[in-house]
């Protein structure tokens, strides 16, 4: 499997009734690992059925394939349906480029910095 590391932590300062999780992905998401890695994010979504928002820190994400983008779209659909937000922070140019070409940046907002992305979600 291609090496990738996903860490999930709470973001402090969320308003009452809201939960914000920071999901940091370091490495490459591809066909060899994405199905396995996606499970941890589904667990978070299932554990917080209402008011969950997700901030994806893509600072260390080097590559994502179309299946990874499919997962991201699915997470967006599930979180949005339960009243939450999904945002992307600090994605590299090649990641933004691929998200743009598939049209995902029309759904999920991307911010240049993690602080900016967190601020939007905590509003």
């Amino acid at each position: 499997m291609t090496p990738v590391q996903i860490t999930i932590e709470d973001v402090a300062g969320a308003p009452a009734g809201k939960t914000v999780k920071l999901i940091r992905i370091i490495g490459q998401l591809d066909e060899s690992n994405v199905d396995e890695q996606a499970k941890s994010i589904y667990q978070v979504i299932e554990a917080v059925p209402q008011g969950l928002s997700l901030v994806f820190d893509f600072t260390g994400l080097e590559y994502m394939n179309s299946k990874s983008i499919g997962y991201l779209t699915d997470w967006y659909s599930k979180v949005s349906a339960s009243g939450g937000k999904v945002v992307i922070a600090a994605a590299r140019d090649n990641i933004l480029d691929i998200l743009q070409v598939v049209g995902l940046t029309q759904l999920v907002n991307a911010y240049a910095s993690l602080d900016e992305a967190k601020a939007v979600v905590l509003q």
């Binding site: 490459q28 066909e31 179309s66 090649n94 480029d97 691929i98 070409v101 049209g103 029309q106």
Partner: protein
């Protein structure tokens, strides 16, 4: 020497003759055209086992090759990385069974074009032929014209389709499928961060 031979045989005006290249002269004389070394296409073929594990190395290779040998920008190097990855994933998922192989060929004509050919053995469980893939591609392109929230199906129409100029699907006589894509280097396009164009594709 070649030019002078050409001049002797060519009846066109002198001004036109001066624009001809040595390769034109060779062709006019019926001789094999010999390109200068730096203008010859570079062709690299790689065969890998039918396992996604090997694609990480292929992606690194594609980025480095594109950056260093094709004339395309770094942005396009990463785009080709994704194009090759998506084509290989399809070949592994549909075309070649585990224990067999897929074959990747890259043909770079420096400063002009980059062609990628991915071929499977046609032994996969979900094997499809060129006609079926053409129909599937057209169907998915149509789906993608509106906001698409589906899980799968973006690779070929959006990533490969948007970032190449030509796409050809061919049945291989031995039973496999060959997908050929080609991108021409255009300086004005190469400078932009992201294209919002709607390319006209040659799909066979």
């Amino acid at each position: 020497m070649l030019r002078s031979n050409f001049t002797e045989m060519d009846p066109t005006p002198q001004s036109h003759q001066l624009e001809e290249t040595p390769q034109d002269a060779q062709a006019a004389l019926g001789q094999p055209v010999v390109l200068p070394l730096d203008e010859r296409p570079t062709e690299i073929m790689i065969q890998i086992p039918t396992q996604a594990y090997f694609l990480s190395g292929i992606r690194d290779f594609v980025v480095n090759l594109t950056k260093n040998m094709t004339g395309f920008s770094t942005q396009w190097a990463f785009r080709f990385q994704a194009v090759v990855d998506e084509l290989c994933n399809n070949a592994i998922e549909h075309g070649s069974k585990p224990g067999e192989f897929i074959r990747i060929t890259m043909i770079s004509t420096k400063g002009k074009s980059l062609e990628v050919i991915v071929e499977d053995t046609g032994t996969g469980r979900e094997k499809i032929n060129a006609a079926q893939l053409t129909a599937l591609y057209q169907e998915r392109r149509q789906m993608m014209t509106q906001q698409y929230l589906g899980f799968r199906g973006r690779g070929l129409p959006k990533i490969v389709g948007e970032w190449t100029d030509e796409m050809v699907f061919e049945d291989v006589p031995s039973g496999g499928l060959r997908v050929k894509v080609k991108k021409y280097l255009r300086k004005e396009e190469d400078k932009v961060l992201s294209t919002q164009k709607n390319p006209s594709h040659l799909v066979v």
